[in-house]
């Protein structure tokens, strides 16, 4: 599947962002973002509420047009869908006449006109995608009656089935219990390894990602820094990003940025949401 890419000696960039700026009406929500993500990287996007994480992801997904700058997907050339996008948490009506298989099927050919006539190959692709997210046997389960973690994984399968270069996940761990969150992290990690998919995963808590992510993008007040955890989660780097003093605490292998959620709202002029 990835023969072409493995032959190349230097991995191509999956994503190149140059001088990206996004404004809602007249407020700049993202400004002067420059970063490059390598193919196959697992990137966490971290930052306080209202920092612009979702805006960044939506812009990459093509839902928001950048006000300035450029976004390129060099490695995805030739693919129909450079990105597979899983939006921030939403609910489905439990009575919706829609099965997990239907949601995944829409990811496969939902952009085509007319009906999807059942055929064996289509069914196999759908079941394969569900197997990739550990949901074998859930194909006929009503989508609205899946648990939060299961729905997240179905949506990941829906994104994967289009064979994207990048997987964009907006807060897939929020509102999940620890065990379900861990399952989602494991599934995404395995998928990125097995399929060589580049992952950008937004979370306000970086700790569940520490064992699996290659680098992180730290977003505060519309500014972003990219690097490894050791490079970025440093007092001097974060002080500059936040614009005031924060403390970085490392406790039992967990990282805590103190001063973040409590002050970011007022000091930065952003509202808590």
């Amino acid at each position: 599947m990835k023969i072409e890419q493995t032959v190349q000696t230097t991995p191509q960039a999956a994503l190149e962002i140059t001088d990206l700026g996004v404004a809602y009406e007249s407020t700049w929500v993202l400004d002067h973002i420059d970063l490059t993500v390598k193919q196959g990287e697992f990137i966490g996007i971290i930052g306080p509420n209202g920092a612009g994480k979702s805006t960044l992801l939506k812009t990459l997904a093509g839902l928001i047009r950048p006000s300035r700058g450029e976004i390129r997907f060099p490695a995805a050339r030739g693919r129909r869908h450079p990105v597979g996008y899983v939006p921030q948490r939403f609910d489905l009506d439990p009575d919706l006449p829609l099965r997990a298989r239907d949601l995944v099927g829409l990811g496969l050919d939902g952009h085509r006109w007319g009906f999807a006539w059942p055929n064996a190959q289509r069914g196999r692709k759908i079941e394969q995608a569900l197997a990739q997210v550990d949901l074998t046997g859930f194909a006929d389960h009503p989508a609205g009656k899946l648990s939060g973690g299961q729905l997240q994984r179905v949506l990941i399968a829906q994104a994967l089935v289009s064979d994207p270069e990048l997987l964009l996940l907006d807060e897939p761990l929020s509102s999940l219990d620890l065990a379900s969150a861990q399952t989602v992290v494991d599934v995404v990690h395995r998928v990125s390894q097995n399929l060589g998919v580049t992952v950008l995963l937004v979370t306000h808590d970086m700790n569940p990602l520490l064992p699996v992510m290659d680098r992180l993008i730290y977003v505060v007040n519309g500014q972003a820094v990219i690097g490894t955890v050791d490079q970025v989660v440093q007092k001097d780097v974060l002080d500059k990003l936040y614009g005031y003093d924060v403390e970085v605490l490392r406790l039992h292998g967990r990282i805590l940025v103190v001063g973040d959620e409590t002050a970011s709202g007022d000091a930065a002029g952003f509202e808590h949401r």
Binding site: K58, A61, G62, L63, H81, V83, Y85, V86, P87, F90, L92, D93, D95, L96, P97, L98, R99, D102, L103, L106, G107, D109, G110, H111, R112, W113, G114, F115, A116, D140, P142, A143, L155, Q158, A159, S162
Partner: protein, 292 residues
Amino acid sequence: MTWYQYIWAPGIWGNPAVHTAWTAGTLVALASGTVGVFVVMRGQSFTGHALGDVGSTGAAGAFLAGVGALWGFLAAGAVTGGSIEWLGRRVRERDIATGVVMAFMLGLSALFLYLVSIYTNASNAPMAILFGSLFTVSPSLQPALLGLSIAALAILALIYRPLLFSTATPEVAQSRGIPVRLVGLAFMLALVVAAEEAALAVGAILSTALLIGPAATAARMARRPGMAVLLAAGLAVGNIWLGILLAYDSYWWPPIHTGWPVSFFVTVVSLGMYAAGGLIQRVRTTVREGGR
């Protein structure tokens, strides 16, 4: 008289008004049922209801202008549907836009219906517009209804997958390059047609019974979208047929032997189906859980 003649009341097959009601009702039901499923899934019941209501404005206006009521229904629906799409671009604004537009249109309706009752001697026209009278539908309307229903079904068939995608996960659909707004607009067109056809058949303010009732029942009972659409079409047609049958039978009922309004029976059957659907679903869940 044998027992079944009480059900198949004498003459039901030979009555031309019943024939027209049957064909017209079936055509209308097919459009309403199928479109209705997406109305329910998209949470647009209020819009569907509003479109039916404002049909009264158009129908009354058409009556004053001496034009066929169907065209009045459709014109009012198109204006309202267009305004809602134009004003309610964001989801949250949508219900408000619908409410505001509907209120204005119903104000016009009050004026037009008043003028109808004052300046024409068709004293029963307002009743027919608001509550419908399937037995008085002119046979000459059948080709138009056939064309409209085919148009609504064709739109749905064409945009089926993108519509389902935009309905279930709109942001994902948009990220995959689906013109979500355009798809929504095309669906609105099908909805206007279905809602106004239903308004003509069972009355402006009762059209919801046909548009939402069978579809809501089907959406709740079916597990897959295609099945929900087929089931809704079947239930809507059954709903109309049963309504017509009961209305015809009611000719023999007290107090005066003139028959009760068809629309009354259509709403009763619609509600009955919805309740029965809920009951069946509850039994199903209990059985499934009890079997574990």
